[in-house]
């Protein structure tokens, strides 16, 4: 880095001292966070792994029994109650990821593009588009549950008024998914939009002008200039949206209660997180819930990794 200090006693002394101090200073920096991380994330992670090998109820510890991989085996054995419920709910969550993530990327990007111009009052629009994000999931769920009511809900009211066929949004498919996706997009698109907006404003205007003098129109400018520069942001947004969508819980819990129901049991909008919640908090089979969590985590990581590779190949 720097040239070796002149061989004077004082300077060498200072140099050695600084190097020694330097070695453990970084650890001081990361220590506070690391303590909390180890205590409340890392330790529970390994603890959860350990628990998943038991039939476990933290209140009835005398009945906790080591079952080895049985919790995992149950998930993969056809005919058990867990098998059908787990994979059904996982399929529901994956469906939601597929439906929601493209919208959660495209719509915020579109809005960010619209807001990227220096027009007066754009701060007001930006605030309005972001506003739903400050609400909690309970409010959002309740509000949209009410709007999508088949009898007396806002949407069916206007459909009937305009002589269109009202739809049973919450108790049929695809209405149920539509209602959940619409509520989710309304609620969370502001966050992605803000990130896109900032990234767009990071792109120097000279590039746009250069493209335009080259003769390309706005659409080409977007495709050839903007989009490639946005790639890292897109990857970030897509990854965040995938993780968030996998964690879907509140909206179906409040709006559709997991319905509309399947003939073989379970619901068509029951997310896997609700299944884990039921298994752990309601049925008190905490070991089984932990096993489910790990299987979901592995799948989430696989999906994110595949997504990451997809972006890399496009380069």
């Amino acid at each position: 880095m720097q040239a070796a200090p002149p061989a004077s006693l004082t300077l060498t002394h200072t140099g050695k001292k600084r190097k020694k101090r330097a070695r453990w200073v970084p650890y001081l920096f990361i220590l506070p966070h690391l303590i909390f991380f180890t205590g409340f994330l890392a330790y529970p992670f390994f603890n959860g792994l350990y628990i998943s090998l038991f039939r476990y109820d933290y209140l009835q510890s005398s009945t906790n029994v080591f079952v080895g991989l049985q919790n995992y085996i149950n998930l993969f054995t056809q005919g058990t109650v867990e098998f059908q419920e787990f994979w059904n709910s996982l399929w529901n969550t994956i469906q939601f990821v597929v439906y929601s993530v493209p919208l959660l990327v495209a719509i915020p990007l579109l809005l960010a593009l619209l807001l990227n111009s220096k027009i007066p009052g754009r701060n007001i629009f930006r605030t309005i588009y972001f506003a739903p994000w400050v609400l909690s999931v309970a409010i959002v769920g309740l509000l949209w549950f009410w709007i999508f009511q088949s009898e007396g809900g806002l949407i069916n009211y206007y459909l009937t008024a305009w002589h269109l066929q009202p739809i049973q949004w919450l108790s049929t498919q695809p209405g149920a998914w539509v209602s959940i996706v619409v509520a989710t997009v309304w609620w969370t698109m502001g966050f992605n939009m803000i990130i896109f907006l900032a990234a767009l404003q990071n792109i120097p205007t000279e590039l746009y002008e250069a493209a335009q003098t080259d003769g390309s129109n706005r659409w080409q400018a977007f495709w050839l200039v903007t989009l490639p520069l946005l790639r890292p942001i897109l990857l970030l947004i897509v990854t965040i949206s995938i993780i968030a969508s996998f964690n879907l819980f509140g909206q179906p819990f409040i709006m559709t209660h997991g319905g509309p129901p399947l003939a073989s049991g379970g619901g068509t909008t029951e997310p896997v997180m609700l299944e884990i919640y039921n298994e752990g908090f309601v049925r008190h089979f905490v070991g089984g819930a932990a096993a489910m969590s790990f299987v979901v985590a592995v799948i989430m990581m696989a999906v994110s990794y595949a997504n990451f590779k997809l972006f890399q190949r496009r380069a």
């Binding site: 990361i30 966070h33 959860g48 309740l142 509000l143 009410w146 806002l154 900032a198 969590s293 990581m301």
Partner: protein, 302 residues
């Protein structure tokens, strides 16, 4: 036979006038585009605001007016009752809950910013053994469902004797990785020259961090601050597990009290929602300048 001498076109008297015509056309298209843009923005804003307007409208309706054959945006029978009930009911100490939520969210946010900025700076700017391994492991935990940490964390907090305390609620929040990741990206994007200059001047690591990097990070800290504040403000399940006394409840827990075991009083709940949403919206409006600015400077290059 036509003459070959070109006669000046009556309209094309001089070059200046032609340019003026083209400029006029150009301006018109620009104006039209602007109008179209505004129309689109307003339309989208209206669509987004409609549910919020519905929420506010409902909060001013008495019970009997909630499900009529005809929908009234302006309540047929306007009432303040939902708000007065909420604010005057001794069993619903909404002011106390409000203060509790502010306290918990503020402390969480300040501590998170403190702890995360220190760690993020180290991961961004310092070389030390195990840096990439530790950081990589942290990133991996982002993929774990949040649900699986609730019970183990509850057991830890119970064993620490921190149940029914705010410390018990706040401490697990500080383990979060998103903040560290976000700030690390930001610190990495800072030009190194300023920090190098400080080092040459004789500043140690902490002074460099504190006097150079941190002030530059204000926008990123503001953004992370808003995100952390909102996450804590709206958190329901974790405070529910930790807090047992009704005096200690935060707003989301309190709002859940408005929902009966089997029924929902929509008017009351919407009034509660409005009361909860207003301060967060105000906070965002005040701090929103920082949000966009900081994300821009976060140098989100991947």
């Amino acid at each position: 036979m036509t003459t070959t001498v070109p006669s000046p076109h009556p309209l094309k008297v001089s070059d200046g006038k032609t340019r003026k015509n083209r400029r006029k056309k150009f301006r018109l298209t620009r104006l039209a585009r602007l109008v179209l843009l505004y129309a689109l923005l307003v339309l989208i804003a209206v669509i987004i605001l409609l549910p919020l307007a519905w929420m506010v409208s409902t909060s001013f309706k008495p019970k009997s007016q909630l499900f009529l054959p005809i929908i009234y945006w302006i309540p047929k029978r306007f009432t303040w009752k939902n708000y007065t009930d909420l604010l005057n009911d001794p069993a619903i100490p909404i002011i106390r809950w409000f203060v509790n939520s502010i306290g918990v969210a503020s402390v969480s946010t300040v501590l998170t910013l403190l702890v995360d900025s220190l760690a993020a700076y180290a991961y961004a700017r310092m070389e030390f053994a195990g840096r990439n391994v530790i950081f990589g492991f942290m990133l991996a935990t982002l993929f774990l469902p949040g649900m699986m940490f609730l019970i183990p964390n509850f057991v830890i907090i119970a064993n620490l004797g921190l149940l029914n305390t705010y410390a018990g609620v706040i401490l697990p929040y500080l383990a979060g990785v998103f903040g560290v990741f976000f700030l690390r990206q930001f610190f990495e994007s800072l030009p190194r020259e300023l920090e190098e200059a400080a080092r040459i001047d004789g500043a140690n690591r902490f002074q460099t961090f504190y006097k150079i990097a941190l002030p530059l990070a204000k926008p990123a800290l503001a953004t992370l601050g808003i995100i952390t504040f909102l996450a804590s403000w709206n958190d329901f399940l974790w405070p529910l597990l930790v807090l047992q006394d009704s005096d200690l409840q935060t707003l989301p827990l309190g709002l859940a009290m408005l929902q009966g075991a089997y029924t929902s009083e929509y008017g009351l709940m919407m009034a509660g929602a409005v009361i909860v949403a207003i301060p967060t919206l105000v906070l965002f409006i005040i701090l929103q300048r920082f949000v966009v600015q900081s994300v821009a400077n976060a140098g989100l290059k991947g």
